[in-house]
């Protein structure tokens, strides 16, 4: 079984994030929403490990290349905000 650890306090969205980040965030929410028949509004800020496994697969299909993140990067992907940040760092969308 996978880990389901996540922090109790989801990081909050920076107040003045650039428009590209918002677009990327919406994209991440849309990808997460495809798991469990949810709307993007229903996706919680925290990302559990099942959702993370789901998201990685969606990212790979969306970008058509493998998502080679190390344990440290994966361990940081516990909130939607953090996911957007890590994806950008690894060159998957966002302002990178």
């Amino acid at each position: 079984m996978t880990d389901l650890e996540r922090p109790a306090h989801p990081a909050t969205e920076p107040a003045a994030a650039p428009a590209a980040d918002h677009r990327h965030r919406d994209e991440v929410l849309a990808m997460l929403a495809t798991y469990g028949e949810r709307t993007p509004d229903e996706v919680p800020e925290t990302v559990d490990s099942l959702e993370l496994a789901w998201l990685i697969h969606q990212v790979e299909q969306h970008y058509g290349r493998p998502f080679d993140a190390d344990d440290d990067a994966l361990a940081r992907m516990t909130t939607v905000t953090a996911v957007v940040r890590v994806l950008a760092e690894l060159g998957f969308g966002g302002t990178g």
Binding site: M1, H57, P66
Partner: protein
């Protein structure tokens, strides 16, 4: 179901049932293959270490280890000594572990000294440590295995199983026959080995039947399929419905001629997911129904009876006032006398369901209590609610499950939501915590003052 011959702590069963077989036969593949000779050596080493620490036949140990070779070898070593092993999920908080240890009073705890592994890892590299618990009690029962039904606060149950119970379940898998992996084949297990499906259906049955147990490097779709592709032997995937959803989402999976089927425990998958999976992989997709109390109960390994299931050989099921009851000679509960859970040779499952009189086919129609399954892990909502409502800063709380666990909280004067969330995170494991929080002025109540848990009513209170 009769428990069979009671051989509670006779350590011989470990060698006879689990460790026997050709020394060169690979039985486990975590990061590297482990053959039976190596496993026997590793178990003997752990046995010596536990013996040196003072563990003797009839003693008691709690294992608080993530899925790992360390977990497997310590479990087998404890049993080989003739002692009782209680399994604590490594995701529990320190608070929950302490509560469980107080309840179980083991003489020793085997925990993590050092561990590598992390997000999405199916197994860890673990260096264990053995801690003596002053005041720990030897096993008072003949159980080889003790598991907690959910959490550790409130009225959670300690479930005990004897060696003969476990052997009976392993034999039941063998008796089911077709659809269950056979000797020389592989199981790629995605199910936690500290819970009954992964533990008995994967690890113990695999050791008994000469089936190689493989854990993927990561719990991602690619890594799971890579693990399947890594060997030529006929391979069965074992997991929970989430894994079907994940694999069904792979648009163009590689050709995997060795993949013969997938079996999941827990709730039924949605029909469209079932169909998408069958379409992608062209293999059988089976469903199993089981409980920690007695393991596998009923199966539909070829999807032939979907959504119904057929009782496994030797299992007798009846519907009593809409609740499924299963014949079980002795109560599986340790230190708990509750006639609503077991009485007169019948286990009361708390699952709603029916049994077709002509065919014996069983329909399971969901829980009749507050238990939900999150990715295959059981969560008792009443436990979470009880804990939340008892925190400082909380006046009242209701915890419900829709698409996720949700909390509705009335904060006391001066109470802050983030403080409440922080306090809860110290007390209950991450997978049990609410994903959505609603701070409300008041909670809807019935005319007699009871809290309302209907979500449509609750959402109106936001």
């Amino acid at each position: 179901m009769a428990a069979g011959i009671d051989i509670p702590t006779d350590p011989e069963w470990v060698d006879e049932v689990l460790l026997a077989g050709p020394g060169g036969q690979v039985c486990l593949v975590l990061d590297a293959p482990v053959d039976r000779a190596s496993l026997r050596t590793l178990v003997a080493e752990r046995q010596q270490a536990l013996h040196d620490a003072g563990l003797r036949a009839g003693g008691s140990v709690a294992l608080c280890l993530p899925p790992s070779l360390t977990f497997i070898t310590n479990l087998l070593a404890v049993w080989r000594i003739g002692a009782r092993a209680a399994l604590l999920d490594h995701r529990l908080t320190a608070f929950e572990v302490e509560q469980a240890l107080e309840r179980l009073a083991p003489q020793f705890v085997v925990g993590v000294e050092k561990s590598s592994g992390g997000a999405l890892r199916a197994f860890y590299e673990v260096q264990e440590k053995i801690v003596v618990r002053p005041g720990g009690q030897p096993s008072e029962t003949s159980h080889a295995l003790v598991q907690l039904s959910s959490g550790s606060t409130g009225p959670s149950k300690s479930i005990g199983r004897t060696a003969s119970d476990l052997i009976a379940e392993i034999e039941r898998y063998k008796a089911i026959g077709e659809g269950v992996p056979q000797g020389g084949e592989r199981i790629v297990s995605l199910a936690s080995m500290v819970h009954v499906l992964g533990l008995v259906g994967g690890l113990l049955y695999g050791l008994r039947a000469g089936v190689q147990l493989v854990l993927p490097g990561r719990m991602t779709a690619d890594a799971i399929l890579e693990a399947v592709a890594a060997g030529p032997e006929p391979t069965t995937l074992l997991g929970v419905p989430f894994h079907i959803e994940l694999l069904a989402a792979v648009a163009a999976p590689p050709r995997l001629p060795q993949l013969t089927g997938m079996t999941t425990g827990g709730e039924l998958v949605r029909a469209q997911v079932h169909d998408a999976f069958a379409d992608r992989y062209g293999i059988r997709l089976g469903n199993m129904y089981g409980m920690t109390e007695l393991g596998v109960i009923a199966t539909d390994l070829f999807g032939a009876h979907r959504p119904a299931i057929l009782p496994a050989p030797g299992i007798e099921i009846r519907a009593d006032d809409g609740e499924l009851h299963i014949a079980m000679e002795n109560s599986p509960y340790v230190g708990l006398v509750d006639p609503t859970r077991w009485s007169d040779g019948w286990l009361h499952t708390k699952d709603a369901g029916s049994v077709e009189p002509d065919t014996g086919l069983v329909r399971v129609r969901g829980r009749r209590d507050s238990q939900v399954s999150i990715g295959g892990l059981k969560v008792d909502l009443s436990e979470v609610e009880h804990t939340l409502a008892g925190l400082p800063g909380v006046e009242a709380a209701v915890v419900v499950y829709g698409k996720a666990i949700e909390a509705y909280v009335v904060l006391a004067a001066g109470g802050q939501l983030d403080g409440v969330q922080a306090a809860l995170s110290e007390r209950v494991a991450a997978y049990k915590r609410p994903r959505a929080w609603h701070a409300v002025d008041q909670l809807p109540r019935t005319a007699t003052g009871k809290l309302v848990r209907d979500q449509s009513v609750l959402s109106g209170a936001r």
